[in-house]
């Protein structure tokens, strides 16, 4: 049973990573705390709900295509937001970035209410994805396996991009030292734009996957942004691999916690977040 729970927690963790990866990436490179991340996620969910019936409805191919398409749509929205607004405040103080991303949260939420109403919506899974791989006691739902695959795919491709491509070297430089990028003779603004777009894309596809996994409504943004913050903070702000471990950890704490301390799991997770923050600071000042 514990094994089943741990496994289930890990699967949930991979999805949490998918949610949080974009946020931590954006913070790592441009130091923007993107409060609108949850809103982009929500947009991804509702857009998928909207367009999936139009694209080969009921087939896995059509389903994944619509998620991908929505990811791209959200990425474009993110791109526009970055180019038109966010770009102006990189050099202003951090609070101005807070104002802008908070404004985006309010705007996206009301637009969601306007277009899709207050009721829960959900995307019906194609039959081919709604089964499970059964191994003895163990049920591995096909759709969750698909989400895990996508999470791993995202992780591997981000890793590969960071490790092997010129763009990745620039990104790593940007994470470590923003001045470095300028020294490398690369336009920092382009790097920020690209990363924000990719981050929005990741939020969008995560939301798309969620639409078929749970039922979604306009209150999704706040819940998701808090979850994403937990993961990003525990993982170390801006640390992609840290976020992976944090996400897996949070998933397992939740899935085991409900067995032993069913009412405390969220408190435990937030305590962990607080302890991690404080511990990091003590270590920093100890240096």
């Amino acid at each position: 049973m514990i094994i089943v729970q741990v496994l289930q927690g890990l699967m949930e963790g991979v999805f949490l990573f998918l949610i949080a990866s974009g946020l931590t990436l954006i913070f790592g490179v441009s130091r923007i705390v993107n409060f609108a991340h949850g809103s982009f996620y929500m947009l991804g969910a509702f857009l998928t709900y909207q367009i999936h019936p139009w694209i080969a409805a009921g087939t896995p191919g059509g389903f994944f295509t619509s998620i991908l398409l929505c990811g791209v749509l959200v990425a474009l929205i993110g791109l526009a937001f970055e180019l038109v607004f966010l770009r102006r405040v990189y050099h202003a103080e951090e609070l101005m970035q807070l104002v802008l991303t908070l404004a985006a949260v309010l705007i996206v939420r009301d637009l969601t209410k306007f277009f899709w109403g207050l009721d829960d919506v959900t995307v019906v899974l194609p039959d081919a994805l709604s089964g499970a791989v059964i191994m003895g006691d163990l049920f591995l739902p096909t759709y969750q396996l698909a989400m895990v695959t996508v999470g791993v795919l995202v992780l591997v491709s981000l890793w590969a991009v960071l490790k092997f491509t010129r763009a990745g070297i620039v990104l790593r430089a940007a994470t470590d030292d923003r001045g470095m990028v300028a020294l490398l003779g690369i336009n920092q603004a382009h790097v920020f734009t690209a990363v924000f777009t990719v981050g929005s894309f990741l939020a969008g596809i995560a939301g798309g996957f969620a639409a078929a996994f749970e039922s979604v409504n306009y209150l999704l943004d706040a819940r998701v942004i808090v979850l994403a913050f937990i993961v990003v903070v525990i993982g170390g702000l801006g640390n992609l691999y840290g976020a992976l471990f944090a996400a897996l950890g949070v998933g397992v704490v939740k899935s085991l916690g409900l067995l032993w301390a069913p009412r405390l799991s969220m408190v435990v997770i937030f305590l962990l977040m607080a302890v991690v923050l404080l511990f990091r600071s003590l270590r920093r000042t100890g240096e």
Binding site: Y143, E214, S215
Partner: protein, 407 residues
């Protein structure tokens, strides 16, 4: 310096500007104040209640109204926030001078308005919120409950579970008032009705939690006869959706709260064979009045069906009208006496209110989901109507809860 606290003048100017925006209005006849979550978390549920109440209002008014005048309803949005609800209720009382209040929705808004009704002595009819605390623990002469409250529902569920003979049960209750109390009552009552039954595990998902997979695996690990899920809306939706892949319904039975709007939003995603409970499922109502009402509602709203809250809202209007007519005035004391002394023909059958806790003997509806040819979404079939007389807590329980609330 003239300029030091410069914010003062615009502050005052702005406040004066609002000052002239809204004024009190007077009207003859009975005035009902509705405070409910028109927007916010309840927004998705209560629009049907409003439509149904407007239909009832038209019917009553075209039949001559009550107390010689028409019923007027003043609609106010609580935004599903207790503070906003309390504020709107007070304004309805102070400036609209309403004769009584109805609506609510979330239990927190109900609990916020409840003391207001008591403070100003204005009757409050709950149509949409099921917490027992308002009428029992913090009950007072002016608050009336017209639907099965949490204690009644918990007992009805135990009754149903006992009838089915389920033995090993996992409960999955949303970790808040409604979930906790329902699970508690269910557990206690089931122990009386079926001593063989045992709760093997209690799970408490957080409210708003939508990834329930680890709860599902934990519940299934016990190989229970039943998973009793005290959840609603997105929680129930996610549970059913995610449970599918685990063969949840093949491996165990599921009993959960399924009001009509869940069927509407999930549609075919709700598989056949789920045990659901509801408070006013239109399709399970046998009274002629119910059929007429549904037809009328559909005609007025593009073929849309009323949800449970529509049924409850419609009933509340007729309960209010009937009691006012019998009382002969809007005087709260006379109204209460009338309420306790008469039977009401409602869509849910003949109902009566008892005066110890101003609660109606409202029935609970529990059945099994099935996709039929009659509706574009699944509905419950084989509906057990558990009458309120069977589930109302006895007087000693009520007194004990009231004593506990005082300490």
């Amino acid at each position: 310096m003239k300029t030091s606290i410069r914010f003062g003048v615009p502050l005052a100017a702005a406040l004066l500007a609002i000052g002239s925006a809204l004024g009190p209005a007077y009207a003859a006849g009975v005035k009902i104040g509705y405070v409910g979550g028109i927007s916010g978390a309840c927004g998705g549920l209560t629009h049907s209640a409003r439509k149904a109440m407007e239909i009832a209002q038209d019917e009553i008014n075209s039949a001559g109204g009550v107390l010689g005048g028409p019923i007027e309803i003043v609609w106010r949005d609580s935004k599903t926030k207790p503070d906003e609800g309390s504020k709107q209720a007070r304004d309805l009382i102070l400036s609209e001078k309403v004769d009584l209040l109805t609506g609510v929705c979330s239990s927190s808004v109900f609990m916020a308005i409840n003391p207001i009704a008591k403070q100003y002595g204005v009757p409050l009819f709950s149509a949409i919120s099921g917490t027992h605390k308002a009428t029992i623990d913090f009950g007072h002469p002016f608050v009336v409950q017209t639907q099965p409250h949490t204690l009644m529902e918990g007992k009805a569920l135990a009754e149903y579970a006992a009838r089915k003979g389920w033995k090993n049960i996992v409960t999955m209750g949303l970790d808040y008032e409604w979930g906790r109390t329902t699970v508690k009552v269910f557990t206690e009552e089931l122990a009386k009705l079926n001593p063989d039954a045992k709760i093997t595990r209690q799970l408490w998902p957080r409210i708003g939690e939508t990834n329930l997979t680890s709860y599902i695996t934990a519940a299934l690990a016990d190989e229970p006869d039943l998973i009793m899920a005290v959840m609603f809306g997105s929680g129930t939706n996610s549970l059913i959706k995610q449970g599918k892949a685990y063969g949840l319904l093949q491996r165990t039975e599921l009993l959960t709260f399924l009001s009509t709007e869940s069927y509407m939003s999930l549609g075919r995603d709700i598989p056949d064979g789920v045990h659901g409970w509801a408070r006013g499922p239109f399709y399970a109502l046998t009274a002629d009045a119910a059929r007429e009402f549904v037809a009328k509602y559909q005609a007025a709203h593009d073929g849309e069906y009323p949800n449970d809250w529509g049924i409850l809202g419609y009933d509340v209007m007729y309960i209010i009208a009937g009691a006012l007519e019998k009382a002969g005035s809007t005087d709260p004391a006379a109204l209460r006496e009338a309420l306790g002394a008469m039977a009401f023909d409602t869509l849910r059958g003949e109902l009566r209110m008892r005066t110890i806790d101003n609660t109606f003997n409202a029935p609970s509806f529990i059945g099994v989901t099935r996709m039929t040819d009659d509706y574009p979404f699944p509905v419950m079939t084989d509906v057990n109507v558990i009458p309120g007389d069977l589930t109302l807590p006895d007087e000693t329980t009520v007194q004990a809860l009231r004593e506990a609330a005082k300490g």
